[in-house]
């Protein structure tokens, strides 16, 4: 490193010719961002991390290892990263991350965000991820020495650590009723209360493996809950789609009758829509609440008035049984007031208890249900079996009949 420094006396950073290639082009460059931050703050950690990243790009190898760093009373929320090659890059010896939980729907005011930035610049590298895949704000790059003090200061400003390891994890929500006409329940409030309730299980890992909640306010599932969360809470409605017939007529005048046929009626997955003299007729008893027609005709069509949630359980990614989507366990649950939220939290506790009793180490709940049986799960948590839970009834005779 010494000889490189001599060539660039005016600059704080060492040359990074390979990752400099990521400064080219119209998309925002994180390398340019890091350089700007490093040159302004002169923080050696950023220089060390950039040097190690440059080295990774050359050798096509990663050089971080985990460890144990935390705050008092908590067993998760700090992701520790130590360089495997600290002799080479001593400035990158420690690069730990704090996961902190933003407001549901990732809403901020500038006062809150600036305050986080100030605390983070004081104790950490100033590098942050907006946002991590689980829904945390990731504050990347702090030494173990500073972790507790940084967290205390953040905690005084209302921030708390997110989950890691075999714990309930940080949740995620779409924009919800804050700014979406298709929101069928207040996912922001439910998310807030659920995470508050399970905060202990987030901070002290005591489960078999991770458990994630995600809250999408309609079946468009903008927060990707169905595959990215163990427990997926999706807004829906029971009664009829609301139709503004004048807006339908205006839409057809503007876009043409062909468009309504080709892009709305023909694309309904259950063939539930018919056209009747510029009016749409919807057979709501066949409609599966897929959202397509509402997405196309945002002004003319709206979700019904009797709104609530559909619950799906067991979503997760590939490892190790293959990708699993959440499977429906409750077709409809009201979600209008604190009692409804309480009912949901009670059900969640029963589900987590059943999983803890029946699951193996490192087994997600979807895998446990697949291994033990959906029927057994329903009995275990006291849910009633309905035809909504299957694509079709079983097509083999290999079971023990109850008679």
């Amino acid at each position: 490193m010494a000889d490189k420094n001599q060539n660039n006396k005016s600059k704080f950073l060492n040359p990074t010719p390979v990752i400099d290639n990521l400064e080219i082009g119209p998309w925002p460059s994180f390398i340019t961002g890091f350089k700007e931050l490093a040159e302004r703050t002169k923080k050696p950690m950023i220089r060390g991390v950039m040097d190690q990243l440059e080295y990774s790009y050359n050798t096509k190898t990663g050089y971080w290892k985990g460890g144990l760093v935390g705050v008092l009373g908590y067993g998760s929320g700090v992701i520790s990263r130590y360089s495997m090659i600290p002799d080479k890059f001593p400035e990158a010896a420690e690069f730990h991350t704090l996961r902190v939980m933003p407001a549901p729907g990732l809403h901020y005011n500038t006062k809150v965000l600036r305050k986080v930035c100030d605390i983070w610049e004081k104790y950490g590298s100033g590098i942050m991820v907006l946002h991590g895949q689980s829904g945390d704000l990731l504050l990347q790059g702090i030494t173990e020495e500073n972790v507790q003090e940084c967290f205390d200061e953040l905690n005084k400003e209302g921030w708390d650590l997110g989950g890691a390891g075999a714990a309930v994890r940080t949740a995620a929500s779409c924009v919800g009723p804050a700014r979406c006409e298709q929101a069928c329940y207040d996912n922001i409030e439910l998310h807030h209360q659920v995470i508050k309730h399970f905060a202990g299980m987030i901070h002290r890992p005591e489960l078999l493996y991770k458990f994630k909640f995600k809250f999408s306010a309609c079946p468009n599932d903008c927060v990707n809950s169905i595959m990215r969360a163990d427990f997926s809470i999706i807004g829906t409605w029971k009664d009829s789609i609301q139709i503004d017939h004048e807006a339908v007529a205006r839409w057809i005048d503007k876009n043409g009758i062909d468009t309504v046929v080709n892009q709305v009626i023909s694309m309904c997955p259950t063939r539930s829509i018919t056209l009747d003299n510029k009016n749409l007729n919807i057979d709501n008893s066949s409609c599966v609440r897929c959202m397509h027609c509402l997405n196309v005709m945002t002004e003319a069509l709206s979700p019904g008035k009797e709104r609530g949630v559909t619950l799906l359980l067991g979503g997760k990614s590939h490892l190790k049984v293959g990708s699993m989507f959440g499977s429906l366990i409750v077709p409809f649950m009201k979600m209008e007031n604190d009692d409804d939220i309480k009912n949901f939290i009670e059900l969640s506790e029963k589900i987590i208890d059943w999983w803890t009793d029946n699951g193996f180490d490192h087994e997600r709940i979807g895998e446990t249900i697949e291994r033990v049986g959906l029927k057994q799960f329903l009995d275990g948590v006291g849910l009633e079996a309905t035809a909504d839970m299957v694509s079709h009834p079983r097509d083999n005779p290999f079971y023990k009949a109850e008679y």
């Binding site: 990752i19 290639n21 990521l22 998309w27 925002p28 460059s29 994180f30 961002g33 302004r40 991390v49 050798t59 190898t61 990663g62 971080w64 705050v71 008092l72 990263r81 939980m101 933003p102 407001a103 549901p104 729907g105 990732l106 809403h107 005011n109 500038t110 965000l113 930035c117 991820v129 907006l130 946002h131 895949q133 507790q148 209302g158 708390d160 009723p177 804050a178 700014r179 807030h192 905060a199 901070h203 599932d221 903008c222 990707n224 169905i226 990215r228 999706i234 892009q263 694309m267 609440r289 397509h292 997405n295 945002t298 002004e299 990614s317 590939h318 490892l319 190790k320 293959g322 180490d361």
Partner: protein
Amino acid sequence: MDIKKRDYTTIEHGTLDYKKYDVLHPAVKKNYGKWKYHDRPRPGVLRHFAESGDILYTVRCATHRQATVDIARRLCDLADKYADGYLRFTVRNNVEFMTAKQENVEPLIKELEALGHPVGGTGNSISSMSHTQGWLHCDIPATDASGFMKSLMDELINEFLNEEMPNRVRLTTSCCSINCGGVGDLAIIVKHTRPPRVIHENLSNICELPKAIARCPVAAIRPTTVNGKPSLMVVESKCICCGACFGACPQMEINHPEYSKIAIWVGGKNSNARSKPSTMRLVAQNLPNNPPRWPEVNEVVNTILMAYKKGGKPWERLGEWIERIGWKRFFEETNLKFEKDFIDSYRYARTTFNQSAHVRF
């Protein structure tokens, strides 16, 4: 810090209290749950109409995702200037500024563009990628993530700025087969092609042997003794090179600069719109892990997305387009080769076989 001198007690808040800290824009609070409909006056701008008659404009732009306090503060400056001091982020790492003042929209867009934040990502566009941490921060990555995202989005920028795709396109990338990037219309995921190299000297000091054995989906890991020390061995003929053991035991080194390759998967979908949510399917493999710009991967991705752009009907997601034209034609239109490996051989493989006489000629 000297923990003994600490006189503060942690408060287990949970999420930042959105009410107490007043993070919702005033127009959002006023019209909360009372929005009527929305449209998009131009790509990158949403216009929401409330039952109260209020109109709210949202300007959406791309971010670095891998950001800094400087970047966040500049976004705050613009939010203070044009959006009443509020901003929010989307699940695809875009930032949204809301304002009731139509006259703020164009100047805000100009300032964002001047700062290097492309405005777009709405409607039927290719939005920003959902991606992982990679070499920058992860402890088990075979490639980088932020760099992958940057180099690919540079190529696809026009599709972010415009709404010219058949439907929205969700991209993801993951630096190992755990696939933290998640399901998308198109995913770029590492695929290892060689079994792990077991580092016997340290293994029993660092790893819990039964945990690593239990992690294997095909029971290819067995206990053994090497130089008198307990260790593990891999039955290489059984190993599917998934890397699951590496997560449990860093001494099962699966990453390799050459033999950790890149695969491309298509047709995933989380939304319930029209078809049910669907998994992603493997359509290309053995692409080189070629930083800093991964040109070979970008070329295949671009070819697939442009074929979809050309062939997809309005509102068809990538997977729905393929569902209509069939996989055979998908491989023809994209000049990709259907390989034997693309036939499933894992659990429930038969559910993916064509159990019918339906053939397209």
